[in-house]
Amino acid sequence: MSTPDAFSDRATVEALVRRVHERASQLRRPVTFMEVCGTHTHAIAAAGLRRLLPPLVRLISGPGCPVCVTPVDYLDRAEAIAALPDVIVCTFGDLVRVPSSRGSLERARARGCDVRVVYSPRDALPIARDHPSKRVVFLAVGFETTVPTVAAALAEAESERVSNFQILPGGKRIEPPLRALLTDREVQIDGFLLPGHVSVIIGANAYAFLVEEFGVPAAVVGFAPADILLGVVELVRQVVDATPRVANLYARVVRPAGNPHAQELIARFFEPVDTRWRGLGTIPASGLGLRAAWAHRDASSIAVAVPEPREPQGCRCGEVLKGVVEPPECPLFDRSCTPDAPLGACMVSSEGTCAAWYRHERFGTGAAA
């Protein structure tokens, strides 16, 4: 892959933007496309893509940031476990500042809890080996891209007999929220930009239901500006031609059936469970819990006192995540809920819909014309 820059090249991107405008001129009504991946949200914001799109094409962010939708009680449980005397909590950096009922993991660390940021779940294993008298608990959040890496780390812990390594399961599946969105009458989504790296694992075929059951246009896309724009061009074309299908535009890494080794590892260690999503409530079979055979690796059985979970009063994250309202319509937006003191899922991640709106949309660009 010696030319990744071709996907961010300005001339190429400008040509693609023109193509989007051209195709969009055939639209007879405004369309709303949803991307369901925190990394897509981030990539779109970082490149400043939204403003380049034609007025009839609206891009919204769905519930695809595993960090943002991690419920408060997961964070509360993680903090309570971290507060136990012989525990080291290892986590991805993404979770460190996510608000819990009492603060965050960052504040827990300030209070003396041993909380360490790792880049890979595997990096928690040497920590476990170096501290045999401690329990090392890895906070296993993420979608299907990340879940197999946790499963692989568990497999390694099993074969290397690292007995003091456990996880707090918090993984989620992408399919149930997509279904939930499409069966919700309030929601009007004209097409999905599907998460390229989740798709590497589950395969492009996993999204067939979008077309077969719901007739919704879809494109599996990568994360460079050109990838995303190719996806928008494709979705507009599918809308105009009324030919919904799952277009795999990231075939350089996404195979129709996905990654069988990763899928086998997920199935070996995890099974679907009902789980709560911050802002969306409980979605059946949307989470991944450890199978009973691995109970000894499951930190959720550790007895800790956890506060009663509460969604902040007035929070309209659920509707924002569905694309039904825009952030300023939430009574908490820019009042009690800001990027520095986020209350709901949409403000938690720096590129969650509300955070992105707060940072990007509050300002006119005002650049010298």
Binding site: M1, T3, P4, A6, F7, A11, T12, E14, A15, L16, R18, R19, E22, C37, G38, T39, G64, C65, P66, V67, F92, Y119, S120, P121, R122, D123, G142, F143, T145, T146, P148, T149, A152, A155, E156, P195, H197, V198, V200, I201, A226, L230, L249, A251, R252, V253, V254, R255, N259, H261, A262, L265
Partner: protein, 76 residues
């Protein structure tokens, strides 16, 4: 979710390998991608190779981009 970047596999044993991109190297696990070949590119996420990069498919996508650039590029 999910930051992953393509890196070249420099060497490997049964389960692990060294991946490199533009002078930066890291040990990566090949547990999810046992078929990865030395010299080829793998997609790396959280310290694991999660897919091999199909050079032929990559070329096809680049060709599409070139074609768009050519067709749209005339409208300056």
């Amino acid at each position: 979710m999910c930051l992953a970047i393509p890196m070249q596999l420099l060497d490997r044993d049964e389960w692990d390998g060294t991946a490199e991109l533009r002078g930066v190297r890291r040990r990566v696990s090949l547990m999810l991608c046992p078929e990865a070949q030395v010299g080829g590119y793998v997609l790396v996420h959280a310290g694991y190779a999660i897919a091999t990069v199909d050079a032929e498919e990559a070329r096809k996508t680049l060709d599409i981009l070139d074609e768009v650039a050519e067709l749209e590029g005339t409208q300056e």
